[in-house]
Symmetry: C2
Subunit: 330 residues, 2 copies
């Protein structure tokens, strides 16, 4: 493995000139360029990015911290972030935290030691102090899917309450006369906000009762069991809003087993807009622009890394009602 000094020797110019040539910085004559190029090719020289990073203080590496890449929401984020990262000349480190604060802390330490240029975090469990620890080391952070208002932390997030309201409102407009809600984990702000949105839309209806809100854990099986529980308590529900698409899928599975036809007897709507093109009937949902979120996160992060000022700290993103067969009017 040859070094810049080997190239320097072979080409008969100083290492500084080679470096200038490689980085297109400063002046290099035509002749020098040619001899350098020839030497590089002859030696199959590849600049060592480790050394570059040490001297230049930039690793061209960013990290993406997610709870679990197996949750279909995150591959889409990862894909978007990676596409943007690659376009901007960064490489993407993937970290799964499983909502585990120890793992989070541990990863953050490792990433600080690696002197990554920036980090995108999606986490329900992380505490602002940990973000400040990163900022103390001059590592820019963008948080997605979880906003702390009134902090200096840059975040990209959607209005879950408005989205929840939109979902419930849609079912009302479809003519549903009793709408249940499968709620995500209470300690997750997004889940709670979506539930509040549901309440905004439904709590004044004469049929409303709190037992229409059942608990799921954002997973398919959570949605499945929640749906059975809901149907047990209220066999007359004719619409259900699940706090995310995975639970909606679980609910539809339960309904299928119960012989309840969708959308004739029951309309279903989810939340997130993850890719579920294999589904039949296709699921209505409140779609977040997942790809855009990942892409924007990377874009803002890049600006922070380049020390360009950002306009705002908090970037709200709009959600969109997608009507599909699962809630289509007869």
């Amino acid at each position: 493995m040859s070094t810049i000094r080997d190239v320097s020797k072979l080409a008969g110019v100083s290492v500084a000139t080679i470096s200038r040539f490689l980085n297109q910085s400063g002046y290099v004559s035509k002749e020098a360029e040619e001899t350098i190029l020839a030497a590089i090719q002859k030696l199959n020289y590849k600049p060592n990015n480790i050394a570059r990073s040490l001297a230049g203080k930039k690793t061209s590496t960013i990290a993406l911290l997610v709870p679990d890449i197996l949750n279909p929401f995150f591959p889409e984020i990862a894909r978007a972030a990676e596409d943007a990262a690659s376009r901007l000349g960064y490489t993407l480190i993937l970290c799964n935290t499983d909502h585990n604060p120890d793992k989070e802390r541990n990863y953050i330490d490792v990433l600080i030691n690696k002197r990554i240029d920036g980090i995108i975090i999606s986490s329900y469990t992380i505490r602002p102090e940990q973000i400040y620890a990163l900022e103390a080391e001059n590592i820019p952070v963008v948080v997605i899917d979880n906003a702390w208002h009134d902090t200096s932390i840059v975040s990209i997030s959607t209005d879950n309450r408005a989205g929840g309201q939109m979902a419930a409102q849609h079912l009302l407009e479809c003519g549903c006369r009793k709408i249940g809600h499968i709620c995500g984990p209470y300690h997750i702000a997004a889940a709670k906000d979506r539930m509040l949105g549901y309440e905004d839309a439904c709590s004044q209806q004469e049929w409303f009762t709190p037992s229409l809100m059942v608990y799921g854990d954002f997973s398919v099986s959570g949605g499945y069991h929640a749906m059975r529980e809901l149907y047990d308590k209220h066999p007359d529900v004719d619409g259900v809003f699940a706090g995310n698409d995975l639970m909606a899928a679980g609910a539809m599975k339960a309904l299928h087993e119960l012989g309840v036809r969708i959308p004739d007897q029951m309309k279903v709507i989810g939340y997130d807009g993850i890719q579920m093109d294999m589904f039949s009937p296709a699921l209505s949902t409140i779609a977040q622009p997942i790809y855009s979120i990942g892409e924007l996160a990377m874009t803002y992060l890049d600006q922070m890394i380049k020390e360009k000022p950002l306009e705002k700290k908090s970037y709200p993103i709009d959600v969109q009602l997608i009507v599909n067969a699962s809630s289509r009017l007869p």
Copy 2:
């Protein structure tokens, strides 16, 4: 950001002693340990891994090259590889190549420049020469889901032909009297082998005709259209083996639309064993131990990095028939 020299100064010992302490190498007295620890804490010192890598020739970073993390097969691989990597003290870089040779080449160059310790590759398009390029730079490679026999390349793979045969055989045993096959892209060895397995099982049947094999592109919509085409040509098929689970899902969607009941009128089996717990009826499949594949890849890679000899070059993994509702006997 303090350095080892700052710690050295504050603790009143040489940098060598600090380094020995940090790496638990060589002798360090109890007293030295204590003063060092105190100094580290006081300065909030974090060892710079870039410098470490430069001096030590190890980056503790490995890369995972996949076609597309959005394909549900790969998050499972990524999760497994990342779990194992993290356990072994590595960090995982994620790269999407989209089956695009240019992107592959580009990533490989970048990764060489970053002096990653090793790389796991899943690609249908990559050429052995590119792997040799990595090996020339002393970067160990493990290839998954694609074996080149008679080469020095370490690979983990399954016997797709046997798996395809198993799938078709299963449908025969279920009493199917005319079985179609939705085949993946011809240029992908795995797809072709699965098709050959199907032929092994079915080509001697009196009902067999080549037009029972239709083409899909390993995607949901590919499977959907292939199923419609197949049903068009042969409305009397009562069993279909799709070359992967995504196409099986697309096929089931098409069948649902066509009003064909599964499994009564048509039995369906897929291939891969990706997570599809939201599906109803649940899909039968030839399951690859996806998690194990990712985990083993990382394990073997670690051994290669540590220069421990590997027993073999080619690690064959067994697949398993999973019978679910989509092919259950009446």
